[in-house]
Amino acid sequence: MPQSAKPSSPLARAWKRLTASQTELAHDDLAAEAQRAGASPVAECTVRSRVVLQGQISMVAVSPRSARRWLEVSLDDGTGVVTLIWMGRREIPGIEPGRRLRVEGRLADDNGRRVIYNPQYELLD
């Protein structure tokens, strides 16, 4: 989800905060926070580079016992979504929907979606 161009004047910014949707505002907050913490925005990351990202878990996929032992998580940093995959894990304590997370790893491309396999992670709250 590419971020819209920053409004220039303070008045335009105030107007945007009034008219923007709840989701857009939340995205803006997430993106600002990630930037302050020194993480790079998902939208600007290039594939096959090593990245530090910070965002919120928007979805956790629990795979059935018969399937491969992968824990798949969507991380939303306000500018885009990246999929985190921990191989060999069925669950990780603290990795829950809504948690904020700081991850580091190499960005890969899996049929158009951005994936980081086995990232290092840090629970933020």
Binding site: Q22, T23, A26, Q56, I57, S58, M59, V60, A61, V62, S63, P64, R65, S66, A67, E96, P97, G98, G112
Partner: protein, 672 residues
């Protein structure tokens, strides 16, 4: 059976199968009263309206009453003659609407239809109001409550018609024949008493002098013509209902057209005789009426002034002819007049729904009007007519004089357009017909319809001019509104039909993938059943999706989910604003945008509950999600019902002789 359905059974009766339709074809002696009650009943108020209008000119006005009645009779004669041609040429029962549509065009047909629809409503309102007014002669205490009583009568008529009155033709026949016998007998006996026995019959209002309004003090020239025209227009109410037979030809016994034409002739003769008889007797016994709305008043013999109108012509005549010598006949006349007026209203209940259903079939009215109800009557049309008529009688407080100003316009619009259509019909047929005998007959018919067109057209113009400001404009507005509404409905239906039409191979492309999604809100039997059902369905992928609102609840559910081991991946979505619907919808939307030819099939477990109050407690989220997903392209929503025990009260579950066949009881996949 519930109390509500028992009540409906009591009021409406058992359901009838479609095959029970059309069992009864009417012989002439039953068809006459069934179709004639409307036309004949106007004899009960047309003379009143003629005299009322003339009263505006004071005593001088009444001298014209028999001349006006004579002109009305001539118009009636011509219209009947013309309609006999319609009946022969168009025996299908489409009536004026069909004649106009086929011969002139759809807009002409719609004009006729909107005119007739408005007039049917007015027929109910006017007839019932007049019936209530006549009842006052016998039951004086209802004075002042006419509006509500008329509304109640219409409600009863509606209930009767929802039962389906087709089968009760004989019930119709008795009051109609009683009315004919009564009116003709009363006229003959009255005339006999005057001319044979030499008695001096004077109506209760004979000695009351009528003072007209100042506008007509000088009763000559233009004012006179205008008033006579208005009086004539009101008298033309006697013609309403003639078209009923042309709509009802299919209900006759064969030879349908011949029988219908004969019945039409009978109807015309009887109506003319009765109208002229009443007016003559009213003149001889000096019935004086006043129009309290128009401003004419009585001066009583003692010199005092009376504003209230006297009772109806029928009531006064019955009183003067029968009250002293043979009182039961007086009550008989009043009762029978009231009854036939209610029956006349009932004719509209036959005509309006049939016309409505034809219009609905042609896509000019909502489709619901085309469906027959439990009793094979067009229930929705009946209810619509009743509601409109109840509205009218309440607004106009069931005043016949006020309502009659709106009346008649519609009938004459339809007469005129239909006669024009018939003229074109014969002209068209003559162009290809070679047989000289048939040609002669057609030419004769064309002349008759031509005269009919000239006559009804003239009357229409007179009615429009003389009554426009007195209320006819309301009827015209109503017709225009109905016309526009039908146009818009038709445009909508054809636009939708165009959009939905199957065109070519490109309309039958298979979706590339079907991705099944089960909405999980709790972990319980309905959810598991939905998951199992989705597993059994064809699809390229399957996932369960739940929205996490409370972390503890989510953890519990996840543990249950993993313990049950359903062999289906579960996606848990974060919900920043503690809300289920939006995150779920967003998730589905994201699945959609990846590939436009994918189809997402969403399974939603729902509880089937037995009581309305349980509905408010359950399924609200499911309902919301379903409604929102319906607006998303390429998303199917499947509701997976789980019947709660309380729903067993609502729907009896039959005993299953082979319970092992039941779908989705066990799932062995976890064993593997």
């Amino acid at each position: 059976m519930h109390a509500a359905s028992a009540l409906k059974r009591l009021l409406v009766g058992r359901k009838l199968a479609s095959t029970q339709l059309g069992e009864t074809l009417l012989p002439k002696r039953i068809a006459l009263p069934v179709f004639a009650s409307d036309a004949l009943s106007s004899v009960a108020y047309a003379p009143d309206e003629i005299l009322l209008t003339l009263s505006l000119a004071g005593m001088a006005g009444f001298a014209f009453s028999w001349k006006i009645a004579l002109v009305v009779a001539v118009v009636m004669f011509v219209v009947i003659l013309s309609y006999r041609q319609n009946v022969h040429a168009y025996p299908s029962g489409g009536g004026d609407y069909e004649v106009a549509t086929v011969n002139i065009g759809p807009n002409a047909g719609l004009t006729v239809a909107s005119a007739l629809l408005v007039d049917y409503v007015l027929t109910v309102a006017v007839s019932v109001s007049s019936g209530v007014q006549n009842a006052e002669a016998m039951l004086p205490f209802i004075r002042g409550h006419e509006g509500w009583i008329a509304a109640a009568v219409i409600a009863v008529l509606m209930a009767l018609n929802l039962r389906g009155v087709r089968e009760s033709g004989t019930i119709f026949a008795i009051p109609t024949y009683c009315f004919m016998v009564g009116v003709i007998g009363m006229t003959l006996w009255g005339l006999a008493r005057i001319f044979v026995l030499g008695q001096d019959l004077r109506s209760p209002t004979a000695d009351w002098e009528v003072i007209g309004t100042s506008a007509y003090d000088n009763f000559t020239g233009f004012a006179m013509v205008a008033l006579l025209a208005r009086s004539f227009s009101s008298g033309c109410a006697a013609l309403t209902g003639v078209e009923a037979i042309s709509n009802g030809v299919p209900a006759f016994k064969p030879p349908k057209s011949r029988n219908a034409a004969t019945t039409l002739a009978l109807l015309g003769s009887i109506a003319v005789v009765m109208l002229l008889g009443i007016i003559t007797l009213a003149n001889l016994t000096k019935v004086h009426l006043v129009d309290d709305r128009g401003g004419s008043i009585y001066r009583l013999p003692d010199g005092s002034i009376r504003h209230e109108p006297g009772s109806t012509v029928m009531g006064q005549l019955a009183r003067v002819v029968f009250y002293d010598d043979f009182r039961p006949a007086f009550y008989f006349m009043v009762a029978v007049t009231m009854l036939i007026l209610f029956l006349a209203a009932n004719t509209a209940f036959n005509g309006f729904p049939v016309l409505g259903s034809i219009l609905a079939r042609d896509g000019y009215l909502p489709r619901q009007l085309h469906t027959r109800g439990d009793r094979l009557a067009y229930s929705n049309g009946i209810v619509a007519l009743a509601l409109a008529a109840i509205g009218l009688v309440l607004i106009f407080n069931a005043s016949v004089t006020a309502l009659i100003q709106l009346y008649v316009v519609g009938v004459f619009v339809s007469f005129t357009v239909s006669q024009w259509g018939m003229l074109r019909h014969w002209t068209r047929r003559l162009a290809t017909e070679a047989d000289p005998g048939v040609r002669r007959q057609m030419q004769r018919s064309r002349v008759i319809n031509g005269v009919g067109l000239a006559m009804t057209g003239t009357v229409l113009v007179i009615v429009l001019i003389s009554k426009f400001t007195h209320g006819a404009y309301l009827a015209i507005i109503a017709m225009v509104v109905v016309f526009m509404a039908m146009k818009l409905i038709s445009r909508h239906y054809s636009a939708v039909a165009r959009e939905l039409a199957y065109r070519d191979e490109s309309d039958r492309v298979l979706p590339s993938r079907v991705r099944n999604v089960v909405f999980v809100n709790q972990f319980n039997k309905p959810t598991v059943r939905a998951v199992m059902f989705a597993k059994a369905a064809v699809g390229s992928s399957l996932e369960a999706v739940m929205v996490s609102i409370d972390p503890d609840e989510t953890r519990t559910l996840l543990e249950q989910w993993q313990a049950a081991d359903l062999d289906v991946p579960l996606k848990v979505i974060a919900s920043p604003y503690r809300e289920v619907t939006t995150p779920f919808i967003d998730h589905i939307r994201a699945m959609r945008t990846e590939n436009p030819r994918d189809v997402v099939s969403v399974y939603i477990p729902e509880y089937v509950v037995g009581h309305w109050w349980e509905h408010m407690l359950h399924n609200q989220t499911a309902l919301l999600i379903r409604t929102r997903l319906h607006f998303m392209q390429g998303v199917m929503v499947t509701s997976v019902p789980y019947q709660l025990r309380s729903s067993a009260d609502a729907v009896p579950v039959p005993h299953d002789p082979q319970p092992w066949r039941r779908v989705g009881v066990t799932d062995r996949s976890s064993a593997g």
